[in-house]
């Protein structure tokens, strides 16, 4: 009887549970993930123990007993820590202002705060160096004053720390502002009602609740400084200040006899530092989750008098003008000079550099084509795979998927130089004695970009999936729609704004990537970042500034279009006010 029933069920196409994750699919996916994301790291670590005589600690012994190596590690720690302090002070101050205080124009301010995310750090560095260069307007302005004032030399420890700090403060800001908004107003009010003063309330309630958020934001800023290649490459290399990321790069570029082994050891050092910082950040974030509420409040809690509000707003805008506008104006001014060092006058101004960059130089045209190709392909494939993974991760959470996620986030968590190096080791000869020609072609850049940035899309899409209540899908299923219809009619329309913002971040990051490309490019696969870096290293500052100005302009236009599209979409679909 049961047997018969089974037959009739079969005809109605009953679905066995968890068919989507049957064993063979699971195994194959797992193997792919391990090969793409984990195996390279393993190869990198293994190479450090490699020598002609088999497994050895020799490389570690030589390097760890070399005082110069320790100098590099110490530099890295010093610069990262100091820049973390700057980033934290700026980030927390802005977060507090934006979350709690009545000031006008917060939306525009927010845009200025996240600008360093959008503009690659090496372009920001270039802009600042132009502001502080010997024949800049600033230098002339200073020479009017008595006492031989000269602009600050950015090619120094302090210069690197400063630029790293102002590039990474948005990280701390973003972490802290959400935490602050999530502290319920009632918690503070309860303290006041129980007899606590304003100061006591801040010290005993607000600060302890926000601290995990602040500290984990600070850890992220530290990690970002460890990882950063552009800033130490533009400022540190000319001044012979070595940090781990640039030192690894120079080892590889130098092609010494034991270059790869040395680079591998340094990479392991840098990777261990990064993983330690990440562990700290992760532990702190866990402690915070326990006390967090889900809803966030956006209404200001500190009402300022008209006078002090205007003063405060003025200070904030001065900061934005000084950090986010003047350097770029200085960069644009340099780019309009026919030769570096000329005075900036009306007669001297020309578009010659732009003409060169756009129409004459084959390098830049190739680079734009390459970067666009890489960014588009990575984004499209990333958006599909990343969203699919994010959906599974949110809806069908399992230990297996958590493991997969940690694999996917590994290449992004590790510093870019370390990651790029591991790519070289794996793809130069995937199987000993067989070189498929992936290293040195666009393919290796694509693989590197995809594995490194996929997690950006996964996170963006996961946020979007989390915001769509499960019952939305269940309602579709009960109404008879499953599979593709459900995605097409319900999920994609609801997810698209979130997918788009993840995808645009991925696109932008890939378009202007420098760290990984600097180690993986070849003559035919130069990218935008590599070409700007090349011009700067060769001393063609007028070209590098012109190309950078163009890129900044393109990014700003792109963002304007994206936000227009998003507003339009929201209006059309009426998503704005639900949830």
């Amino acid at each position: 009887m049961n047997f018969l029933k089974f037959l009739s069920d079969e005809k109605e196409r009953t679905v066995p549970r968890a068919a989507w994750l049957s064993f063979p699919i699971q195994t194959i996916t797992f193997l792919c993930l391990v090969l793409l994301f984990v195996w390279p790291i393993f190869r990198l670590v293994a190479l450090g123990f490699n020598s002609e005589h088999g497994v050895t600690f020799e490389n570690y012994q030589t390097i760890l007993s070399d005082p110069f190596a320790w100098r590099v590690v110490l530099n890295t720690l010093l610069i990262s820590t100091c820049s973390m302090v700057i980033a934290t002070v700026l980030g927390v101050s802005f977060a507090w202002l934006m979350a709690y205080v009545t000031i006008r124009g917060k939306k525009i301010m927010q845009l200025f705060i996240v600008l360093p995310f959008v503009i690659p750090s090496y372009i920001t560095t270039l802009a600042w160096t132009q502001l502080f260069s010997e024949n800049s307007l600033l230098a002339k302005l200073l020479s009017l004053f008595p006492g031989h004032l000269q602009p600050w030399n950015l090619y120094s420890y302090m210069g690197m720390i400063f630029i790293l700090g102002i590039t990474h403060y948005p990280l701390v800001y973003l972490f802290t502002v959400n935490v602050l908004r999530k502290i319920p107003r009632e918690m503070e009010q309860a303290c006041r009602v129980s007899g606590g003063s304003k100061a006591l309330t801040f010290c005993r309630v607000t600060l302890p609740m926000a601290l995990p958020g602040i500290v984990s934001g600070a850890f992220l800023a530290f990690l970002a400084s460890l990882d950063n290649f552009g800033i130490p490459a533009f400022l540190g290399i000319p001044a012979h200040i070595n940090v781990l990321s640039t030192y690894i790069y120079q080892q590889i570029i130098g092609f010494g006899p034991d270059a790869f082994a040395r680079a591998s050891v340094f990479s392991v050092l840098l990777g261990v530092l990064a993983l330690l910082a990440m562990l700290g950040q992760w532990l702190l974030q866990r402690t915070f989750k326990a006390g967090a509420t889900t809803s966030s409040e956006r209404k200001p809690r500190y009402i300022l008098s008209r006078h002090s509000r205007v003063v405060l707003e003025l200070v904030i805008w001065l900061f934005f003008i000084a950090t986010a506008m003047i350097p770029f104006v200085a960069m644009m001014m340099t780019s309009l000079l026919p030769a570096y060092g000329l005075d900036f006058t009306m007669q001297n101004m020309s578009l010659k550099n732009y003409a060169f960059v756009l129409f004459e130089s084959p390098d830049t045209q190739l680079a734009i084509r390459n970067s666009l190709n890489l960014a588009v392909i990575t984004t499209v494939i990333g958006a599909v795979i990343g969203t699919a993974f994010a959906y599974l991760q949110v809806r069908k959470s399992s230990r297996w998927l958590k493991l997969c996620e940690s694999f996917i986030s590994l290449p992004y968590a590790l510093p870019g130089t370390v990651m790029a190096l591991s790519m070289i080791f794996v793809w130069m000869e995937p199987i000993p004695g067989w070189n498929p020609g992936i290293y040195g072609s666009m393919t290796i850049l694509f693989i590197a970009y995809f594995t490194r940035f996929l997690i950006l899309q996964v996170r963006g899409s996961a946020t979007a999936v989390l915001q769509v209540d499960r019952s939305m899908e269940e309602a579709a299923q009960v109404s008879g729609a499953n599979g593709w219809t459900k995605w097409q009619k319900i999920l994609i329309p609801l997810l698209i704004p979130g997918i788009l913002s993840g995808a645009s971040l991925l696109f932008l990051t890939a378009l202007t990537e420098l760290t990984v490309s600097a180690l993986l490019y070849s003559a035919q696969s130069k990218t935008i970042g590599v070409v700007i870096f090349g011009y700067e290293q060769a001393g063609y500052t007028t070209f590098s500034t012109a190309f950078s100005s163009l890129i900044v302009l393109l990014i700003l236009i792109g963002f304007a279009i994206l936000s227009l599209v998003q507003t339009f979409w929201r209006r059309k679909e009426g998503i704005a006010n639900v949830h």
Binding site: K5, S8, D9, E12, R13, T14, V15, P16, R17, D469, S471, M472, E474, A475, A476, Q477, V478, S479, G480, A481, N482, T485, K489, I490, P493, L494, E573, G574, I575, A576, N577, V578, H579
Partner: protein
């Protein structure tokens, strides 16, 4: 649609959400599943919808197994409609498109309906009284209107079973009562079986043909609203549905003597065997007489709540606290000594 749930269990890790659940729903019946939060009622509803499979046992619909540990018929292949607690309206679709969506995709929609989709949508819109707001987006609707859209979407394809997961719980009190009438009307008009999950006993009593009372993942009692209210089988049902006082004492044949007044004899008005074995007598607040005479259980008024149409007294006796409802003609104040007895005309 007739439904048969046989020996269904559902476990999540070491937690057992449903234990040995057995129940049947007749074609066209309005069945309420009543219980406190965490009693497993929503888990049971999700099993019926096909979002989840039982860990053991089977679920049959119209004689066909649709859910068992090995295989389930997914929701889109069951002839059902569902109203969600959060309504689950799609923010990017207007009211009309919500109604049309299941007409377009539901597998069991008759050819006639599919052909006259627009007409059917109009008909449903009229039924849920939203014909003038058909072009509105969900965010432009009030709570009650959203509720109706969710209902309209569920009934549009004329499913044979309608599942409702606390559909009124996110509405305010007044609207909640008003919507009861509309739900009953829909049930009369469509004649579908309805399974209605709620934690509000008055909702269940008011609308259902039969009620399943659940607690800690088990079925406590199944019966008509009258049977559940007047003759609770277990102490949980007596307390949860009737807010009854469980008086301790001794059963002697068909008479009961309360512990605090051994010489008093109460007649059996239909107390269940289970309660008798527990040596208790279930007495709802309105079944108790409160006076200042000298017969009955002595006590002291410990709390007074004026409720408009009646007064709720809490009376403290030697070993218990009693809840007693009286009409407005009786007035006792805090601390007053009173006597409690059973009303003669039960």
């Amino acid at each position: 649609m007739s439904i048969k749930v046989a020996e269904v269990e559902r476990t999540f890790g070491s937690f057992t959400a449903l234990k040995h659940v057995n129940l049947t729903v007749e074609d066209g019946e309005f069945m309420a599943i009543l219980g406190p939060s965490g009693c497993g009622k929503t888990t049971l509803l999700r099993l019926l919808a096909g979002f989840d499979a039982p860990s053991s046992g089977t679920i049959e619909m119209d004689g066909r197994v649709v859910g068992s540990p090995k295989q389930i018929v997914p929701p889109e292949k069951r002839n059902i409609g569902m109203v969600f607690q959060s309504f689950a309206l799609w923010p990017h679709m207007n009211v009309r498109r919500h109604i049309e969506f299941p007409l377009m995709h539901h597998q069991f929609v008759s050819k006639a309906l599919k052909k006259n989709m627009r007409q059917r949508a109009d008909e449903v819109l009229k039924m849920i009284k939203l014909q003038d707001l058909a072009e509105r987006m969900p965010e432009e609707l009030s709570g009650g209107q959203r509720q109706r859209v969710a209902l309209g979407r569920a009934i549009a394809p004329q499913p044979k079973l309608l599942l409702m997961d606390e559909p009124l719980s996110s509405l305010d009190a007044e609207l909640r009562v008003a919507m009861r009438g509309e739900l009953q009307e829909i049930h009369r008009l469509t004649g579908t079986s309805i399974i209605y999950v709620t934690h509000d006993q008055s909702e269940a009593l008011a609308m259902a043909d039969r009620i399943v009372v659940m607690n800690h993942g088990s079925v406590e009692q199944i019966g008509t609203p009258r049977a559940i209210y007047n003759h609770p089988q277990t102490s949980f049902v007596a307390r949860f549905v009737g807010k009854a006082n469980l008086v301790k004492g001794k059963w002697q044949g068909s008479f009961f003597s309360p512990q605090e007044a051994p010489d008093v004899h109460w007649e059996d008005h239909g107390v269940s065997e289970i309660l008798k074995q527990e040596s208790v007598y279930s007495l709802r607040p309105e079944q108790i007489e409160i006076n200042q005479g000298d017969s009955g259980i002595p006590g002291e008024v410990a709390n007074v709540q004026y409720q408009g149409k009646d007064i709720r007294y809490t009376v403290k006796t030697a070993t218990a606290r009693w809840q007693v409802d009286t009409d407005l003609t009786h007035n006792f104040h805090l601390g007053e000594s009173v006597r409690l007895s059973i009303k003669s005309n039960l």
